[in-house]
């Protein structure tokens, strides 16, 4: 056997291992439990009155939406070209940095904070407007030939494929590979939008739109619908307030939200010593992604199934406890909205360090997308400060920030679930009782989420 030195470096997780993370886990669990108790004692309409509050800002129409989307499309086309012909280095080519860091991490955060920017920035709407006008089928909400029974399952399947590509594929960062994947997906989606209608396809099949729209439900900005002759007014609201009016999600919608959470959780889990040890893989001699395709695919499905079973079980138990006559589908479809803040919190906490470092690479790469020596924004030569996430001090700050985000996310989830339960069960005692199993699940997920960030990991 050939000797194999390991260079698994001590890494910043090493600093976290020395922190008293056990106290945080216990504290987080207690905080989530306490928020449940406090809510149970509050008069049921307190939260509702609170959530109804709006601070109106200003109104604006949708007229620029085509323009912003066209600009975004042009940017996307440039990025695809850069992916095909720019630097082969994934940290110098803007395509992987924009997609995996700025879009998947950065925009997800902004959506969660500010609302549905994606409906203005997606690269399909503008081109769709132009082409559909040319062929005379401009109705955004046209009758669709998409069968109703499909629900939003196509989005679930596409999101799974996306998660698989991001987390399991050997080289999702490879600029050319990503350019082909993203370019093909854009084209497929665009054709499908022309065939099946923009609204139907983007709401039921285009997974990024479905994901970003769900995340935007949590934002603190809300825009009223644009009526025939009136612009949509922008309001400030409390986080989660928009979920108050959410309609129950279909089975596909439930699956989608749970998959969004479970896939990010699996990304964390898959690198833990615990997970690797289960499969006899030495984390200090991490064999690389290619060797783990089978294990990873299995894990991605497994975490989804486990989360789905746990969630449904919690809802069923809650319905039993409250002796509810509502259907499981309605209860689960409504309560699953409480997963949104958890998914968002986990998304931010999990990708925080990547955003801080790769975000810098992205800013630099955008100045010279084709590696031609350009310096469009004056950032091409900027120093990448990898030290921002290095060392014991950074580890302390990051850990506290991540733990805070995770705990806050779960507390808000309890809050949202409480508000939604009240809609299902107008009798307060029953509403509280129905929430008990889901709260236990949320406490467990808090512990799991914090453990994922505190336990030893490979790399």
């Amino acid at each position: 056997m050939l000797p194999t030195p390991a260079f698994a470096h001590a890494s910043d997780r090493g600093h976290v291992l020395l922190l008293p993370t056990g106290y945080y886990v216990a504290g987080g669990a207690l905080a989530v439990a306490a928020s449940f108790l406090v809510l149970a004692l509050l008069p049921p309409d307190t939260l509702d009155r609170f959530w109804r509050r709006r601070l109106p800002l200003f109104a604006f129409g949708n007229s620029f939406r085509t323009i912003t989307s066209l600009i975004s499309f042009a940017g996307f086309a440039i990025l695809i070209a850069a992916g095909l012909s720019g630097s082969r280095d994934p940290l110098s080519n803007p395509l992987p940095l924009v997609i995996w860091t700025l879009l998947w991490v950065g925009l997800a955060m902004l959506q969660g904070l500010l609302g549905d920017l994606w409906s203005w920035l997606n690269p399909w709407y503008g081109p769709w407007r132009i082409i559909s006008r040319l062929i005379g089928r401009e109705d955004e909400a046209q009758e669709t030939r998409l069968p109703a029974w499909l629900g939003c399952w196509p989005a679930v399947i596409l999101f799974f494929a996306y998660a698989w590509f991001e987390l399991i594929d050997p080289a999702p960062d490879d600029p050319a590979r990503l350019a082909f994947a993203a370019g093909f997906y854009w084209l497929l989606t665009f054709i499908a939008m022309l065939v099946f209608g923009y609204r139907a396809w983007s709401r039921r099949c285009e997974f990024l739109t479905v994901f970003f729209a769900m995340v935007a439900r949590f934002a603190i900005l809300e825009r009223n619908k644009v009526e025939r002759d009136e612009d949509g007014r922008l309001n400030v609201c409390w986080p989660g307030a928009k979920l108050r009016a959410a309609e129950p999600l279909s089975a596909g919608g439930i699956a989608f939200l749970l998959l969004a959470l479970s896939s990010v959780s699996f990304d964390g889990l898959s690198k833990t010593f615990f997970w690797l040890d289960l499969f006899g893989i030495n984390p200090l001699e991490y064999p690389g992604r290619t060797a783990l395709i089978g294990v990873g695919s299995f894990g991605l499905v497994l975490t989804f199934v486990l989360l789905a079973v746990a969630f449904l079980l919690a809802v069923v138990l809650g319905q039993r406890l409250a002796a509810s006559r509502r259907s499981l589908g309605e209860a689960a479809g409504l309560l699953v909205w409480s997963i949104v803040p958890i998914a968002l919190a986990y998304h931010i906490a999990h990708y925080l360090t990547a955003l801080l470092v790769d975000g810098q690479y992205a800013v630099a790469a955008l100045s010279d997308p084709f590696a031609l020596g350009w310096n469009l924004f004056g950032t091409a030569g900027m120093q990448i400060e990898a030290g921002i996430v290095a060392g014991a001090d950074s580890a302390w700050w990051l850990w506290n920030l991540q733990a805070g985000i995770i705990i806050a996310g779960h507390m808000l989830a309890v809050l949202v679930a409480h508000g939604l339960a009240w809609r299902l069960h107008p009798v307060p005692s029953r509403a509280a009782l129905s929430q008990l199993p889901l709260t236990v699940l949320m406490i467990a997920y808090t512990v799991f989420g914090l453990w994922l960030l505190a336990t030893p990991t490979a790399g």
Binding site: A6, L17, F273, G288, G373, E385
Partner: protein
């Protein structure tokens, strides 16, 4: 920082992270490349293309970043001084994801798609081992900077070279004389229970024996362990030196718990910098290392007696006196390994010039010219120190540093001799067909 042909633009005074990235064929580009010295004496001004198999993502990324910086600095210096055979050097980076299967794929891409002259720069041994057959098949010289014994073991193939960094067998062996003479005669080894640890387990005892010292206990720790206190009672009481080579995220915990176990009355400690590459030695938990000793390939901290070449190398790569990135003091370098990129590129330069290398058709000549090299003098091209090269096993041999943790810094207290690290060759690549 790079011009449109991906060359370094020398008109900028600071070195950016963006190395020469991709190549359109040169020609016209050179005329407009600002700051470039003239290559008029060269027959062809097409660039020498170096395929950099880089750990940009995956578990090697922390090393990969510093390998990239060092490579960029060396290429800039080489181009500054007229390139190779009067031709500029261009680097094409491909990310291998620290994944052996992907590594082999990348080697194939360099050979057939990018048509680079050589492949260079791999660190992680499993990627080297996974990629070497692809290099042999494509008959493309493959210069690794891995420190593994795999090249010197002659179990790879004739196209694989490691001329810029010593191998782990040589490193371990050359520690023995100093340990036996200065630290103690009774040594207990603590190592992770897998191949990396086994190198130390297997190579140290015979080397110590030859110096009149003994390994009295070997404690193998399961790789997934994150708490170590339960292993410490296995350390024999008469132990004079603990030789530790733990790696991974639990290293800090290991040191902290060892400190709690011994308090102020401890045996001598001797470790390998592999444990703490890219990690600040002043991190909480590492206090117990004060006064202990480490192997270092190239010193992380600037030393009072640094040569002019060493100073120039550090300045070019952009590391400060503490071995961290200039302007980003928390970004600690991988000083013990990354110098190998710099030195390897100068070996490639020398071999290409000796071979009169013109293009991929001369790859076999390049292999033979590399095998014909015998020594590299200390200097700007080899700032870590002088080296000898054994063309039969494609491996260089050099000096090692033993450094003491003192006042929160690593101070070099001993430099080994090249002879300390020599061993009998285990085979001969030159008998293989080209």
């Amino acid at each position: 920082m790079t011009d449109k042909n991906g060359f370094f633009d020398l008109s900028k005074s600071t070195l950016s992270r963006r190395t020469a990235l991709k190549g359109l064929a040169a020609g016209a580009g050179l005329a407009v490349a600002p700051g470039f010295i003239r290559y008029s004496q060269a027959q062809s001004s097409a660039p020498v293309k170096i395929g950099f198999q880089s750990h940009r993502t995956g578990i090697g990324a922390a090393y990969g970043r510093w390998y990239e910086k060092t490579t960029a600095a060396a290429v800039k210096a080489i181009n500054d001084a007229g390139g190779i055979n009067g031709r500029p050097v261009e680097v094409v980076i491909e990310d291998d994801g620290t994944d052996p299967a992907r590594g082999a794929e990348v080697v194939g891409k360099f050979a057939t798609q990018h048509k680079t002259d050589i492949v260079f720069g791999t660190l992680f041994s499993h990627v080297v081992i996974g990629s070497a057959p692809a290099a042999g098949e494509a008959k493309i010289p493959y210069f690794v900077v891995s420190e593994g014994h795999h090249v010197a073991s002659t179990k790879l193939n004739r196209y694989v070279f490691q001329p810029g960094i010593t191998d782990v067998k040589s490193q371990i062996q050359s520690m023995a004389p100093w340990i036996a003479a200065n630290a103690g005669k009774k040594v207990t080894q603590i190592f992770p229970d897998f191949a990396f640890g086994y190198d130390h387990r297997d190579y140290l005892p015979p080397a110590l024996k030859a110096q009149g010292a003994d390994v009295i206990a070997q404690i193998a720790i399961p790789p997934t362990e994150s708490s170590f206190t339960k292993y410490f009672p296995q350390i024999p009481a008469e132990t004079e030196v603990i030789y530790h080579v733990m790696v991974g995220p639990a290293v800090l915990t290991f040191v902290k718990e060892l400190g709690e176990f011994y308090g102020s009355n401890r045996p001598q400690l001797f470790g390998f910098m592999d444990s703490l590459e890219a990690t600040d030695i002043n991190s909480p938990g590492l206090e117990f290392l004060d006064g202990s000793h480490f192997w270092e390939g190239s010193p992380r901290y600037a030393q009072p007696d640094d040569s002019a070449a060493q100073k120039a190398y550090r300045a070019a790569v952009g590391i400060d006196d503490n071995g961290a990135a200039v302007g980003d003091p928390k970004d600690v370098s991988t000083a013990s390994h990354m110098f190998g990129c710099w030195e390897t590129l100068y070996v490639v330069k020398k071999a290409m010039e000796d071979a009169g290398y013109k293009g991929p058709e001369d790859r076999a000549k390049l292999v033979e010219a590399t095998e014909a090299l015998t020594e590299f003098a200390e200097g700007p091209e080899h700032p870590q120190g002088p080296k000898t090269f054994n063309g039969k096993i494609h491996q260089c041999f050099g000096i090692q540093n033993i450094s003491k943790v003192e006042g929160g810094k690593l101070k070099v207290v001993h430099k080994t001799k090249i002879e300390d690290g020599l061993y009998e060759p285990e085979g001969d690549y030159t008998t293989q067909a080209l």
